[in-house]
Symmetry: C2
Subunit: 343 residues, 2 copies
DNA sequence: CTGAAAGCGCTTACAG
DNA sequence: CTGAAAGCGCTTACAG
């Protein structure tokens, strides 16, 4: 159904109907209520393309998903993040546009998104330490919010991040307090900004405690169970194994657990494990006393906040950038204890 | 940049430029090549809204994601499915539009998608046994492809499904051949069509082998690790526990494994486990000899095929519906063996 | 092979 | 408070 038909149906001019449906103040409240009800009843929604063409903006936010190597969308952390984005989109009546592109085509993809006008703004994800996207998007004039931060970008921009450095500093401090001195770090890919900050936090806590960092205990890579398993195995087989392992995701911790079980090591007795816990729906670690001691930070909330900030930005004209720093919370579970005394 | 500006820039009329970029046959091949290169260089892409308004269709496919209870998008099976959709979208230069809606608003959501004209068609997911959506969409005239099938819908429609009944019939047959007689089924939610078909397959295999089905061994619910853990615990504590467990997802199998370990039962020795294996990127079960014996069927391929069929439909006018039935493959891993002799 | 003009379905100054 | 008309940026018959 088109506006013209619908207007005729309700006996009003298209102008008035449009204004009523768009909440313009000029139209009588009773008329508005009647028209909204009629639209719902007859299943009339304005054509989104005509609308966007006329107004110059779309009620759609976008994400560009790189397709080389592992597709990001299958990452469970990303899935929960998207769920949060979706919740906010539902609330604000926005849609989400996913563009899947080859990795080397990324700049081109953002440019096309802007030129095509399909989305009012984008969420930038998995930012690298010197990610070029904020500068590019600012120059293009496409509104954006970064999930995480880009340390190398100096101009102000909107972001939502958890305090990764503090989280890992506190986590490491907790293990140090228990008496651990050989603490391994199974980090994410340190080319990514968040992983970089996590290592900084880990190193700072060690330094403050006067413990020398051992490069042999620090690993970086993709945050999977297989990665956690392989490196834990390797570390435990080594000459001077760690007594505690700090890992960047519950998926990694699951791999640590597998490797420990294989060697008949009990978590929270023979080996301590502490993980960053994104509070994932499908990797739940939420028993009253959780399996893993973790720094808990709901990535879903981060998704909500990114979407909220972006939608505000799209609607709000030239508002100054906004930053939100969330704090992770230490939740003590069953996987940590003082180190076993050497026998 | 707009068509008019770009056309002036390259010294052609907007008409010719548009035709060149859209691959119309009237335009000289050299001219076309030159214009395509220039468009890329100057970052010109036609405004998608203007284009869709003029042509009446959009290069976007849609998914409606219900938001009550657990958000579907965090389901790892769905994530891999979407990854497959994304791969095909990238190939065909389509975008994906996600609409997040309250569960009771679903019909309304599809109607709005159609009326707004944002998408050229939709993928219908998690169809129930008597799902009303195919009938609704056919009546609305919105192209669609179902992932799975709707047994209760009689008119022809396009779908992509794995042969769930055959998969579970063969899986059950395999366990029966090993000598198992008490085989539990930890199924998905049987209001969903695929879970219904899986139970049919399980029951048929039992019947063919002359084994009476025990309602106490059949469970239905959401396919999570916690679900697998809880029911396995309960079953193993019962008077006449199963010697084998057939489960509808690797996530469930992980829960079975946990419960078995707790009771010091070795998989593939004391207890056999066979799972439907969607070949998920983050729940990999892909060692040379996999941990779990499984019926393997890549859900990612299903996503690709759904997207491909839908995009074909959107482009292809009134083509007759297409169906694709994929077969799962039995991959024998380390979790199955003949039952222990009663002591 | 190329171009001027109409039209896609909205929104929104402008006039009343 | 309401309406007729212009315009958003494309595509595509129609005319050459």
């Amino acid at each position: 159904m088109k506006l013209k038909e619908f207007a005729k149906l309700v006996g009003m001019s298209p102008t008035t109907v449009s204004r009523a449906l768009n909440g313009h103040p000029e139209v009588n409240e009773q008329t508005r209520a009647r028209l909204i009800a009629a639209a719902r009843q007859h299943g009339y929604s304005p054509n989104a393309h005509a609308r966007s063409l006329a107004t110059g903006h779309a009620s759609v936010i976008g994400c560009v998903i790189p397709m080389t190597g592992r597709n990001e969308i299958v990452n469970p952390i990303y899935a929960d993040f998207l769920a949060g984005v979706g919740e906010e989109c539902a609330r604000r009546r926005f849609d989400l546009n996913l563009s899947f592109v080859a990795d080397d085509d990324q700049a081109q993809a953002y440019r096309a998104l802007k030129s095509k006008g399909l989305v009012g703004g984008v969420i930038v994800q998995f930012p690298g330490h010197d990610d070029p996207r904020p500068a590019m998007l600012q120059q293009m004039g496409l509104p954006f919010v970064v999930h995480g931060r880009v340390s190398g970008h100096r101009a102000p921009y909107s972001w939502v991040d958890v305090n990764n450095q503090s989280a890992f500093e506190r986590a490491t401090g907790f293990l140090l307090q228990l008496g651990h001195r050989r603490i391994a770090l199974l980090n994410g890919d340190e080319r990514l900004d968040f992983a970089h900050r996590r290592r900084e936090g880990y190193l700072r806590a060690l330094r403050d405690a006067g413990v020398e960092a051992d490069p042999g205990l620090m690993v970086t890579g993709e945050m999977t169970t297989a990665y956690g398993y392989a490196h834990t195995r390797r570390l435990l087989e080594g000459a001077n194994p760690p007594t505690a392992i700090l890992c960047a995701a519950t998926m990694i911790a699951a791999g640590v657990q597998q490797a420990a079980e294989e060697r008949k090591l009990a978590l929270g007795a023979d080996l301590s494990v502490l993980c960053f816990d994104d509070d994932l729906s499908y990797y739940a670690n939420r028993e009253a006393v959780p399996v893993f001691t973790g720094m808990r930070s709901p990535v879903r909330v981060a998704g909500q906040r990114c979407a909220a900030l972006l939608i505000d930005r799209i609607g709000g004209g030239e508002a100054p950038p906004v930053q939100e720093l969330l704090e992770a919370e230490l939740v003590v579970g069953r996987s940590t204890a003082p180190p076993r005394q050497p026998r």
